[in-house]
Symmetry: C2
Subunit: 313 residues, 2 copies
Amino acid sequence: MASKDPPLIIRGKDEMREWSRSARAEGKTIGLVPTMGFLHGGHLSLIHESKKHADLTVVSIYVNPGQFSPNEDLSTYPSDFDGDIQKLNSVSGGVDVVFHPQNLYDYGGRRSSGGEEEEGKVVSCVEINGGMGHETWVRAERLDNGLCGNSRPVFFRGVATIVAKLFNIVEPDVAVFGKKDYQQWRIIKRMVRDLDFGINVIGADLIRDEDGLAKSSRNVHLSPQERERALSISKSLSNAKFAAENGQLNCKELRDSVIQAIQEAGGKVDYAEIVEQESLEALKEISSSSPAVFCVAAIFGNVRLLDNMEINV
Amino acid sequence: MASKDPPLIIRGKDEMREWSRSARAEGKTIGLVPTMGFLHGGHLSLIHESKKHADLTVVSIYVNPGQFSPNEDLSTYPSDFDGDIQKLNSVSGGVDVVFHPQNLYDYGGRRSSGGEEEEGKVVSCVEINGGMGHETWVRAERLDNGLCGNSRPVFFRGVATIVAKLFNIVEPDVAVFGKKDYQQWRIIKRMVRDLDFGINVIGADLIRDEDGLAKSSRNVHLSPQERERALSISKSLSNAKFAAENGQLNCKELRDSVIQAIQEAGGKVDYAEIVEQESLEALKEISSSSPAVFCVAAIFGNVRLLDNMEINV
């Protein structure tokens, strides 16, 4: 049930910025929900969060080549723009704008000399496939390390950079990120603080399907059997959280229990780390003075899945 | 002769942004001239340039620790805030705001764990002296290399980052940079393009004293004898430009002539490079298809001086 018009679809950077500036000139506040499309209930919860904090909501849909390295799944990342628009039409109160650019790294200039993968240097799909000389990157140099940063070396540099670009194009007052991507959320919050963006970053809780699997666009690639086995992630995390809240505070033992459960279900654990919530530094012991979050990345089939639970004792 | 009120002095980030947003809401455009103070005629020319392109002009005065490494001259960088205000009062038509923050890296939070220089890692004075966990840096990864990037490894990372911060605090329509710092100007232009800042970056011509020395806040540290000898930089550059415009297009020979002249005058050449104006890639031969700029950094006494001349044949 749509209670207002379908969203305006904007593809150009200048048109997007003009829309935002007109809205601001009329005294409206703007919320931004950055997505890579193939929307699910998790994204819709971010949109509801934005609507709580801003007069108008912009949803961006853009699969960012800058956060994929050449051996990752850029080419198979799922997309369904028409389906996305249908879902957005059903949002109560509506979404005001869908920003759906074609290539945010095309500056209309000549191509830089470095069009190919450089020997020994980790590069993103932007640098391989012609970013027209794009070479400016934003990095949170400590938070980048560890967790997903270990196995995806260009990922967070790419995320921080595209989010900075979107912030400068959309010029929002509020931006909403899911705590499902916990490290990403912390990096964006730090970037906004460190670079003095005049934007309020809101973290929205992770949303699960009824069986407990954390919602993700990549879940569509799981076979029914793989999905069943992947439930070991949320189940073991939930058990660890319960154990910690009942006095089992040793991180090695908590981690071992999760790793074992996932491996027994046939999954490959990329990492299972208990870290401090803000610094993301590894903890040996959970305590009331250092709020913890238990972050997991594991692979079932060919699908890399993320999950996490905050543990406050 | 001041034709309007003295500038408003603003020290807080929030107050600065509020001023800008009110001005924009009234339909005014804002020009920003970032400086490190100790103003001279070169800075005043940037201000005049800003006033041509924007309704209101903000001059920021902030010596940025993020662009100095611990072995550089942060502690002796000259400053004279009262003198600066006097000079700004004399600007025809006036300056609207002087943004003079105390510490742009103090976020009011706890200090990060890394408060000391890390072994083997090049860090800036921010990381040494407590940036309260500041860790987000902006880099133009190609343009950073070469020229000043060789001898000042944290410099351009620090410059791009502080300029991004100032852009987000002041939210200007126009920003003016001197082409005296040629590599810096190119990096900022590239950053604005690559990160989609909605800001028009204007390069203002290098300004010289009557004897030909490029104006710089650091010139105050030169003894009269050193200053006399430092004129070898502008004289030899000028000769090289004249030679190139009259058919001497071989870069090695042009560079050798400048290096020799500076060394004979007792200067130490940090670099003397002829590069393409936009990519800053070294040229072997000057041609009409690749506009060149001849960039020099040389040390007289303890003072590192920059100069450059564009050569269009």
